[in-house]
Symmetry: C2
Subunit: 544 residues, 2 copies
């Protein structure tokens, strides 16, 4: 059976940029476009050239892609020709093969927002699309407020779409701009407009997540006959976001009825990079990745219930609808007071620690984790701190060094040029190989800027650890997260530090204290110890 | 036309607790149950009595609710009677009016996971439900893996459900345990099983969000005839979460075809408390609320695109599918380099600052915001810092006091009892009313525990501000968030501080620096200044 081609149109760089708090730099746009192209989407909407400086700069710097890079704009205004509309000209000047113009299809918006007649609007849409086609470009028309318009005046919305098609638009995209349409309505309306003469293989769907149905509305539209889906990575976008391609792509590629019915541009091989692409975008945005995200979230294949966890160990299909590896994700059996010893042994094995079933150390480790969690610690993500705790309990944690005391000073005052400057200084006293060592570091980096007290502490701590200092050379801190949380009855600070080394390892450690510097210091100590466990076989004695 | 009653079954306290990293205390469970009851759900599943100590304690401490408090458990095991199954006995001992038991309906799980015959499983389900009913309780049966089972052996899944109904179960709940079913499949299967004799008004639906379709699958099941929806607040739950009642409730109550067709227990008045309930749960969990959450997210009614923002100011329905007030949420016109001056004036008005259109100060404020955002600041949430920046530019920020310098020391060492202890000390030098004042504070609270350097700084700063100190007495810090972000080409620390005062005000301020203490100090300073702007009419001169 031949499959039908379904096209993916990504608008992360345009509608995704409408997310509150999101503003991509040109370099970030280039990086995201390259990732989208490797993934295999068909269209990459790069932005609105002329509307803001970053978007214009991006089209100048645009990378070569197999995907069609598309410039976004709006239909020409009334009272001038398409050729003489300067907003449209700026869009055309980006020189992309494809151009997508948004225009009104809801009669209320035509007469109230634009203040023009219904006929003038149809003429604007037709002339604008015809202009793009005349310039040898592929034209797309985003029918704004399509579903709201169809509710009020179905004949007019269809009329506008037909004008775009007759002018030569390759695609007319049915936009649920306000995000209010529900899947049942989308299904019915798409069926009706196809019956009314709009050809399904020239229709696209653009939904928003205001009722948490954007993915379902996209699927409902495909079920009813549209052949292009617009969406964004991680569901970025105005208000509650656009349809989430990160959730849609695996569904289309792995699950029935879609996998038998459709071909998409994303290959099974590229799909295995999906989790990485999703995390990369969060990294660019400095966002904590959503743990619960479908397919790519850190919890998406995390089995907390004791019953589930033990069944999973026998046969993963018992509690997993797809194999996590297909999307580049991984199974997690987290710790919690509902987790049994089988979870714990699984997690210890992942950390390279093999413990016999029935070993009394298992109970001791679980008890200690419960006690620490009550104090505000969290080991769901801090796998490295979990491992150190377990090693300690199992007598497999070497005593590399001992911290005797530290002192950090943070000062802000005027310098000799009468400018306010800040500076931190840390003194750390350790005992290593039987020797007491005092180290002092300040927080200034090469160019003289203050990197703060945790930086000064980290430097002082690593400065002289005898035989171990060399091993820590290629290690650096990549993320630092702080939350106020509950430790017993008091509010405490939980710090999670992510570290990386030259061998590409990345690990997370946790520290808890009412004192943020102290919590950071604890997480730093764990980070260093984990690295030393990995990279050295010391002469030191085993800790008690 | 009479409407059909649709029942809401909340499992936040049971399946919601399966979320990675979530563990409610008994007191928190009580607080959540009360909020659910005020909202108007029909059932509150409180946990599995006997399975873990918190769940058992909760049923002992359970509040009186109009909603039916329900204990969860599993069907009796083979080889013993329902009366003699100790796991089931623990569930019954919770003494709830309703009891929900999960049991197998997928033949593979019966023979492989349980290792019993298909007939034995049917008998277990029947006997367990009959036992509950014989004890005068309402019985519910969760048919685990129903949709996976129906794919493999539709006759058997229906047979198990019929056994539960015949034994007297009020509800049989079709569970998509693994979250793999898509809305089209749910719709078809529900129609088929109703046609096969399962009565729709005794069927419920329980979905998971593994393909981001849990809400849509619930709606599809209702469309096909089920009359009970199971879900959780904020979509908590195992892996990617359960169907999100926070999204489903407003859809059912505000949107067609549901509002005309169904009655639910949630009133329009209670719906206006939905955003508050959602945020309360995040607060209990110490989670940053999802900005993009449907209906209740801080961005759900945030209009960033310049075109949208100006239309919204004329008529909100142009870009909003429902009125934010119906769910207790609010419209936001955030700042960004895509926002025009009309956004800015709207936001200034919200801050009580009226500026004429065309005032050159508007351009200066926008420029300064852009420059600060490039340095790593973010004003989307830090409304109080935004206001101070604008006031400064408008010449409406009084110069209350000036900080000349500060110094903080954080020390960790052994005390006289040979125990490691930490202590911070802060010295702040300010000039207020022409007078130089030195204040020193340490970080210890009444019971001698160290609250850290930011606490010491906050106390020293507020200690002696002359005429202003009194005003700051009822102010305290409620949250403190730290992110590493990009400031120009360097990584910097962004601190957001949420403060509260005795008048119930809550405000957010931002500070940015490579030095975490310095960033915190800046956010603290803003927090204090904002409070002083509100609460005093000083003699001080206006800042330049």
């Amino acid at each position: 059976m031949t499959k039908t081609r379904l096209y993916l149109y990504d608008t992360t760089l345009r509608d995704g940029q409408q997310t509150q708090g999101v503003q991509f730099s040109t370099a970030e746009k280039v990086q995201i476009a390259q990732a989208l192209d490797e993934l295999g989407v068909d269209y990459i909407e790069g932005g609105w050239p002329g509307a803001n400086p970053t978007d214009s700069a991006f089209f100048d710097a645009a990378p070569k892609t197999a995907a069609r890079l598309t410039a976004f704009g709006m239909t020409k205004r009334v009272g001038r020709s398409a050729e003489n509309d300067n907003v449209l000209a700026a869009v055309m000047n980006a020189g992309t093969k494809s151009v997508c113009l948004v225009g009104k299809s809801h009669d209320y918006h035509v007469t109230q927002a634009l203040g023009i007649t219904l006929e003038e609007n149809v003429e604007n849409v037709h002339a604008s699309v015809a202009h793009i086609v005349a310039q040898g470009r592929e034209a797309l028309f985003d029918a704004e407020h399509f579903f709201d318009g169809y509710r009020d005046n179905p004949r007019y919305t269809v009329l506008v779409c037909k004008a775009a098609l007759e002018a030569g638009a390759r695609w007319v995209v049915l936009c649920d701009t306000n995000g209010g349409a529900l899947p049942g309505e989308v299904s019915r309306v798409v069926s009706e407009v196809i019956a009314a003469g709009l050809p399904g293989d020239r229709l696209g769907i653009h939904t928003h997540n205001d009722t948490e149905n954007a993915v379902a509305c996209s699927l409902a539209a495909v079920d009813a006959g549209v052949r292009q889906i617009q969406g964004t990575l991680n569901g970025l976008g105005e208000r509650c976001g656009n349809a989430n391609l990160t959730a849609l792509i695996p569904t289309l590629l792995l699950k029935e009825p879609y996998v038998s019915q459709f071909d998409i541009g994303v290959s099974v091989e590229a799909l295995a990079g999906l989790t990485r692409v999703s995390r990369m975008l969060d990294e660019i945005l400095n966002r904590v990745p959503s743990k619960q995200a479908a397919y790519v979230g850190a919890s998406a294949f995390a089995h907390k219930a004791g019953l589930h966890a033990s069944a999973i160990l026998k046969d993963p299909s018992t509690y997993e609808h797809v194999d996590p590896a297909t999307v580049g994700n991984a199974r997690i059996i987290p710790m919690s007071n509902q987790a049994g010893q089988s979870n714990l042994r699984k997690r210890l094995t992942e950390a390279g620690l093999s413990v016999e079933s029935g070993d009394p150390a298992l109970g001791r480790i679980l008890d200690r984790i419960k006690q620490r969690e009550a104090e505000g610690y969290s080991y769901d993500t801090a796998q490295a701190s979990f491992e150190l705790l377990a090693r300690d309990e199992l007598g497999q944690l070497p005593a590399f060094f001992e911290v005797k005391r530290y002192k950090v000073t943070v000062e802000r005052r005027k310098n000799k040029y009468d400018k306010m400057v800040s500076l931190s200084e840390a003194v750390v006293v350790v005992k290593v190989d039987g020797e007491k060592k005092l180290s002092v570091s300040e927080s200034l980096d090469e160019d003289g800027s203050d990197r703060g007290p945790v930086n000064a502490l980290a430097k002082a701590l690593a400065k002289d650890l005898g035989q171990y200092s060399r091993i820590l050379d290629d290690m650096h801190l990549v993320d630092f997260k702080v939350r106020i949380t509950q430790g017993g009855t008091e509010a405490v600070t939980r710090v999670i530090i992510d570290s990386e080394d030259g061998q590409g390892r990345r690990w997370s450690t946790v520290g808890v204290s009412a004192n943020i510097v102290d919590a950071s210091f604890e997480a730093l100590l764990d980070a260093i110890q984990w690295k030393l466990v990995r990279d050295c076989r010391p002469r030191a004695v085993v800790a008690e």
